[in-house]
Subunit: 350 residues, 2 copies
DNA sequence: GTTAGCACTCAGAGAGTTTGAGTGCTAAAA
DNA sequence: TTTTAGCACTCAAACTCTCTGAGTGCTAAC
């Protein structure tokens, strides 16, 4: 797709104007805008060309032009300049990141909220555990005669625990035995490899404490399952209603519902190779997102896991600003997890 | 407030009709409705009386009547019959409860979602830790030469953990010593009682490992803090847009925003003594909730903590149905935490 | 105390009109 | 060959006006 320099300037002016105003842009506006020394008629001709190329479209005959999805795509790929983050912006984001550090728990959720807040668009956050996980070690801690804590740690260094109460008492020796049995039999296995047969064998070996084995192992399985099962958090939905394109309920409602039923993470795009991905309008697979754009960035959680944050908005979206902010946040989150900048180790929220 | 039997019947008919239709109710409708053997003119007279008493109001001269907040209050207190939960309803709720069992993690969040889903109204969930908490025990588990897991358990049997990595190696003996020191010095103390002086003394006693003490103790403090700090989760916001009263954006938007910025739990009412509370329109403190009703129920998390679930909706809300469902769910959640119905113990999400 | 009847009110729907931003085309100018 | 001025045309959106009908309050008769 080759365009003359002037066509590029015009296209860009139209898109940036539309991003701000959400109103179709007319030839006159463009003619007046920054240093365009030609008349509106000329612009009109150029616009007609751009329309023929599929980069612009008209809502109706007597309105101005609006960018098509293809137009946005061209803009994003070739025209867009990097948005320079202002000092205030970075300061604000740093502050948010610093605050969140205190609650390494629930990072996912928090990350989403933060993004929503800092971009003023609805945001989502999800994790993408790529590999199959296994339990690396079990620890059983006696609390009282009839209660103990299970602590399991996965091969990716995630630690989870649960308090178990028993109807009957338990001896320290039994617990010890159980502990050894678990660590020899159930470590290094994926969810599928923990078969009923294996359970039966182990229960047999456990003697008296055979009931406990299944309690502990099923907890371990729950942990593996919950870590593999990716979850999405959406936040900032209310921002949608501030946008002119969602002033009409018919448009807002389906999208809202789609974003709320966050059961299925598969519905959200995950950047594969690049750290950042932009999906414009129909490029989205999901029907409900067909006239929205989605910008996603991924960050490193460490230990073979990546987190994903993203925002959803109208195709008319300030791509430059949003990508700048999102990648800054993604980097911040990576740092937050990665190095020793902050309290090390992490234990929560896959 | 004494009403004749007939006035009560009329008021009730109006409210129940309005709850269903969201349209002002006219005298004719009522006259035709269930077994009213009088004419519409009579009803009109009665309605005028009810209006004079402040139980009804008119949106404008030539419309029907709608219940006032006072009217709803009267209805809730005196007229409302218990809604019988159908088999399908309870079955559906049981199923939801059963499903959620699997993720005792994140109960709060899940509880909210569940309520939203089962009531078709936006819902919120929050915890209300009443007492000051303390750490009951510490456990340190060696993972590698330079990494260990801290496990802390509070006096209310909540267990949290974190993986700590060190720049240098650590001996089993040191860990043992640290463990003892922690359990003798820092157990049974509230957040305030863990003073800098105490820390200094402990660090001194720890010898080589003095840096570790602060690491571990600050984790413990984070845990106490996060448990005391109450948090709110809202979900099902999109349901709002399905309701006729929120078809206009001006009305939906402020409420949405209010419910989204869920930073401050203080903004949500908590039932004090009763297990269930209904706040109608202006009875709500928050401005944004002035023309909505809020129904809250609390449930037992055990160990001195109560959880709260609630729904928000228009004042025209099917109080009978909502309260029935909410209290069923609250009970279910209590059971879920309390007895041995299900995997005992819990470890997450204050 | 109840009812029939009637005049009155008023939001909301529908039809028609106006407005103005914006277009495409043509013919002249550069 | 490109640019421009000019003009006729289009059409959504805003505005006005009228009509409709559900619903009321009041009065007088039952």
């Amino acid at each position: 797709m080759d365009l003359t320099e002037r066509k590029k300037r015009i296209l860009r002016a139209i898109i940036e104007n539309y991003i701000q105003s959400a109103e179709p842009v007319g030839s006159k506006t463009i003619a007046q805008s920054i240093g365009m020394e030609v008349s509106s008629a000329t612009i009109r001709n150029e616009m007609a060309d751009l329309e023929a190329m599929g980069l612009l479209e008209k809502p109706h005959t007597s309105a101005g032009r609006i960018p098509s999805s293809k137009g946005y795509r061209f803009y994003v790929n070739e025209l867009m300049e990097d948005h320079k983050l202002s000092l205030q912006e970075t300061e604000r984001m740093n502050q948010a990141l610093r605050m969140k550090m205190q609650e390494l728990d629930r990072v996912l959720d928090q990350a989403g909220r933060m993004v929503a807040q800092l971009t003023s668009y609805p945001a989502f956050a999800l994790s993408a555990g790529t590999e199959r996980m296994t339990i690396r070690r079990f620890d059983l801690l006696m609390v009282e005669r009839n209660a103990f804590i299970i602590v399991v740690m996965t091969d990716s260094n995630i630690v989870r625990n649960r308090l178990i109460r028993l109807p009957s008492d338990l001896s320290e020796a039994q617990l010890q035995m159980l502990n050894t049995l678990l660590n020899t039999t159930f470590t290094g296995l994926t969810l599928e490899e923990i078969t009923p047969e294996l359970m039966r064998v182990a229960q047999h070996a456990a003697g008296d404490a055979y009931g406990l084995i299944s309690l502990v192992v099923s907890f371990a399985m729950e942990v593996l399952e919950s870590l593999e099962q990716r979850r999405v958090h959406t936040s900032g939905l209310a921002h949608l209603l501030e946008l002119p394109e969602y002033q009409s309920l018919e448009r807002a409602q389906p999208l809202m519902s789609y974003l709320s039923e966050d059961s299925d993470p598969a519905r959200f795009p995950v950047p594969k190779d690049d750290p950042m991905k932009i999906l414009i309008g129909p490029e989205n697979v999901a029907d409900a997102l067909k006239d929205t754009s989605v910008v996603v960035a991924s960050y490193d959680i460490g230990e073979g896991m990546r987190g994903v944050i993203g925002v959803v908005g109208p195709t008319r979206m300030d791509y430059a600003k949003i990508t700048a902010r999102l990648s800054y946040l993604a980097e911040g989150l990576s740092r937050l997890f990665g190095q020793g900048e902050l309290p090390q180790g992490r234990d929560e929220e896959k």
